[in-house]
C-alpha cells in the first residue's frame, strides 16, 4: 500500500455527516437546508451505489486525466504581462493600500 492509498484507506466515519461535509465545503447551512440536502444526497448516493458493485477489468489500468489521453505540455519560462494592479483589484469587495482586505484570518 503506497502513501496515497494509506491516506485514503484511513476511513473517518462510515456515516454520512452533512455537517462535516458542509464544513469541508465551507458552506454555512441552515438547519432546514441541512435536512433537505441530507435527504437529497441520500437519494443520489443510493443511485450511484450501482457503481460500487460494478466489476471492472480496468482496475489495474492507468487512469488518464484527459479523456483523449493527451500528455501534459510544459510552457517556456517566459514572462507575459497580464492584469494591471487596478484590474486585479477592480472586483475586490474590500481593499486598502493596494491589498485585498478580509476579516481576520489568523490561526
Amino acid at each position: 500500500m503506497n502513501y496515497f492509498q494509506a491516506t485514503l484507506r484511513k476511513k473517518l466515519s462510515k456515516d454520512f455527516d452533512i455537517q462535516n461535509i458542509a464544513k469541508l465545503a465551507s458552506i454555512n447551512l441552515s438547519e432546514d437546508e441541512q435536512k433537505e440536502l441530507d435527504n437529497d444526497l441520500s437519494i443520489i448516493l443510493e443511485h450511484v451505489k450501482a457503481l460500487s458493485d460494478l466489476k471492472l477489468d480496468t482496475e489495474q489500468k492507468e487512469i488518464f486525466i484527459h479523456p483523449l489521453e493527451k500528455e501534459l505540455e510544459l510552457q517556456e519560462d517566459k514572462l507575459v504581462e497580464s492584469l494591471t494592479h487596478e484590474e486585479a483589484l477592480s472586483n475586490a469587495p474590500e481593499s486598502k493600500d493596494g491589498k485585498f482586505v478580509v476579516p481576520p484570518s489568523m490561526e
Binding site: L24, I65, L74
Partner: protein, 481 residues
C-alpha cells in the same frame, strides 16, 4: 526509560524561475502588493493553469541529485482547503505520483557523515501573503490584508523519512539542502527571504521501540537557530510529558521566536481532509528519457563530490564541509591557492579565516579587481619562509584589500620584512632583559610561560619585524646562560 526522539522534516524551496508555476506572471521581489498577477494566479473564474517547463527541469535536477527514483508517469493533484491567501482554495500539488521518490542526502556533522533518507520530492505552488493587523491573537485582530504576488510561485517540497535524531542533524540537513539548491542554481536559497521554509514532525519513543510516538508538527521556524531551538524545546517538552505520564496529542504547534517555546496552534477544522484528487486541468505528465537525460547533462558538481575533492587536498571533513557551503568564488580561490602553495591548512585558514573576516569587518562584498589569488599564495610563502610575521601578514592583507598593490610592495613600504639577523636581535634583547629584570627572575624560577611576554616586548620594540621564533630562542638562551 530512555527516550529517543524521531524527527522528519518537510522543506519548501522557492525556485528561482522567471515566471510562476502555472502562469507566466513574473516572480517578483517587491513590497508593492498585487502587481504581478493574471487571472490564473489570482484565481479568477475561468482561468486555467499551464505548468512551467523550467520549474519541472529544476525539480527533476533536485530529485536526480538526491538519488531519487524519477516518476516517469506523474500527475498533479488538487489539495483542497479554504484559506483566504489561497486563491482557488485548492493548491495544485502532487500526491501519489511525485517527481521524485526514495532519495537520500549526505550531511556532515564535525568529522562524520550521515545519510538522511528522503521520502519524496514534489512540485507545488505557493500561496499569497497575509498581513494581520491588530495584535496577537485572533480575538484582538481586526483584519487581514492580502498580497498575491507570491501566489503561484513554484515550490519544491522535500519530505524526509522520520530518520533524524537530533536538532544538530536537522540543522546540518537544512544547510546541506540549501547548499544543494544553490549549487544546482534552482533557488536563491535565502532563508531570510523565505526561499527555504521548513516544518518538523517530532515524536519521542522508548529507545529500541519499533513504534514511533505520537508526532507533533512544529511550524514557524524562520532560521536555523530557531529550528535548532524549537526541536530541542519540543523534545524536552515531549520527554517530560511522557515521563510525567501526560498524553501527547497529535497536533500542530507554533514556535514562538520571542518566548522560545512551542504552543498549540488554533485548528481551523476538526481534522484536515484535503480531498486530494487528480487536477482535471492538467493532463498526465510524462517525463521522457530524453528530458531526464538532458536535465542530467546539466548537473553541476554536487556538494558531496566537492567535499571529497576538498578532502583529497588534505582538508579535514569539517573544513571541506565549511568550504563546500561557501560561495563559489571562495571555493575556487581555495583550489587556486592550494594548487600553488600545496598547503591545505594555510590556504583554508587564510581564506575562510583572515580574508573573509577582514572582508566582513570592512563590509567588502567582492574581492577588488586588482586582488590576485597569487597574493594569498605569496603571503603564505612569505610566512613559511619566515620573511614576515603572521601579524605583518594581516596588515599586508588589509592593505591589499584597499589598495592596488602587491604583498612585497606593502612589506617593503611598511618595513614588515622580518629581522633574521641574530646579532641585531641579540642587541635588542639585551635591552629588553634589562628593563624586565623581575620577569627574568621569575622565568629562572620556572615560570617558562612568561617568555611569551618578553617575545611580545621584542615584537613591539621592532614594530613586528623580528622573527618571533628566533626572538624566543635567543631570549631563552640568554636567560638560561
Amino acid at each position: 526509560m530512555s527516550l529517543q526522539p524521531t524527527i522528519g522534516i518537510e522543506t519548501h524551496i522557492e525556485l528561482n524561475t522567471n515566471t510562476k508555476m502555472f502562469c507566466r506572471c513574473g516572480v517578483v521581489d517587491t513590497e508593492d502588493p498585487n502587481i504581478s498577477l493574471c487571472p490564473t494566479c489570482l484565481g479568477l473564474p475561468g482561468a486555467l493553469p499551464v505548468p512551467n517547463k523550467k520549474a519541472i527541469e529544476s525539480i527533476t535536477l533536485l530529485a536526480l541529485s538526491t538519488g531519487c527514483e524519477i516518476t516517469r508517469k506523474g500527475m498533479f493533484h488538487r489539495k483542497n482547503y479554504f484559506y483566504p491567501d489561497l486563491p482557488k482554495n485548492y493548491q495544485i500539488s502532487q500526491f501519489d505520483l511525485p517527481v521524485g521518490l526514495n532519495g537520500e542526502l549526505e550531511i556532515v556533522i564535525e568529522e562524520t557523515t550521515d545519510n538522511i533518507q528522503i521520502e519524496r520530492v514534489h512540485m507545488e505552488e505557493d500561496t499569497g501573503k497575509s498581513t494581520h493587523s491588530g495584535s496577537g491573537r485572533i480575538e484582538s485582530a481586526t483584519s487581514t490584508a492580502l498580497d498575491f504576488n507570491r501566489s503561484g510561485v513554484p515550490l519544491v517540497e522535500i519530505v524526509t523519512k522520520p530518520v533524524i535524531t537530533s536538532s544538530k542533524q536537522a540543522v546540518a540537513y537544512i544547510e546541506e539542502l540549501r547548499q544543494l539548491a544553490i549549487d544546482l542554481n534552482i533557488s536563491e536559497g535565502r532563508l531570510e527571504k523565505g526561499n527555504l521554509r521548513f516544518d518538523a514532525n517530532i515524536s519521542v519513543a522508548p529507545e529500541g521501540s519499533s513504534e514511533l510516538g505520537t508526532k507533533v508538527e512544529i511550524k514557524n521556524m524562520n532560521s536555523l537557530r530557531s529550528l535548532e531551538r524549537a526541536i530541542d524545546y519540543e523534545i524536552e517538552r515531549q520527554t517530560k510529558a511522557v515521563e510525567d505520564g501526560v498524553e501527547i496529542i497529535q497536533e500542530t504547534r507554533h514556535w514562538d521566536e520571542n518566548k522560545e517555546l512551542t504552543s498549540t496552534m488554533r485548528s481551523k477544522e476538526g481534522s484536515a481532509d484535503y480531498r486530494y484528487f487528480s487536477d482535471p486541468d492538467l493532463p498526465n505528465m510524462y517525463l521522457s528519457e530524453d528530458f531526464i537525460n538532458q536535465v542530467k547533462s546539466s548537473m553541476p558538481q554536487l556538494p558531496k563530490k566537492q567535499r571529497e575533492e576538498l578532502v583529497d587536498t588534505g582538508l579535514t571533513l569539517k573544513q571541506a564541509n565549511i568550504l563546500s557551503k561557501s560561495d563559489v568564488w571562495i571555493k575556487s580561490l581555495y583550489f587556486k591557492v592550494h594548487k600553488q602553495t600545496k598547503d591545505s591548512e594555510a590556504s583554508f585558514n587564510w581564506i575562510t579565516g583572515e580574508l573573509q573576516g577582514q572582508m566582513r569587518k570592512s563590509s567588502i562584498e567582492k574581492l577588488p579587481e586588482w586582488f590576485s589569488y597569487e597574493y594569498l599564495s605569496e603571503i603564505i610563502e612569505l610566512i613559511k619562509n619566515s620573511k614576515i610575521s603572521f601579524t605583518s601578514a594581516k596588515v599586508i592583507l588589509s592593505e591589499l584589500l584597499n589598495t592596488d598593490t602587491t604583498p612585497n610592495e606593502v612589506a617593503e613600504q611598511k618595513n614588515l620584512f622580518q629581522e633574521n639577523d641574530t646579532d641585531k636581535i641579540s642587541e635588542m634583547i639585551v635591552q629588553i632583559l634589562e628593563e624586565n629584570q623581575d620577569v627574568v627572575d621569575r622565568i629562572k624560577t620556572g615560570e617558562d610561560k612568561l617568555v611569551g611576554f618578553l617575545v611580545g616586548q621584542v615584537m613591539k620594540q621592532s614594530n613586528g619585524s623580528v622573527n618571533p621564533g628566533m626572538a624566543k630562542e635567543l631570549l631563552l638562551k640568554k636567560i638560561k646562560d
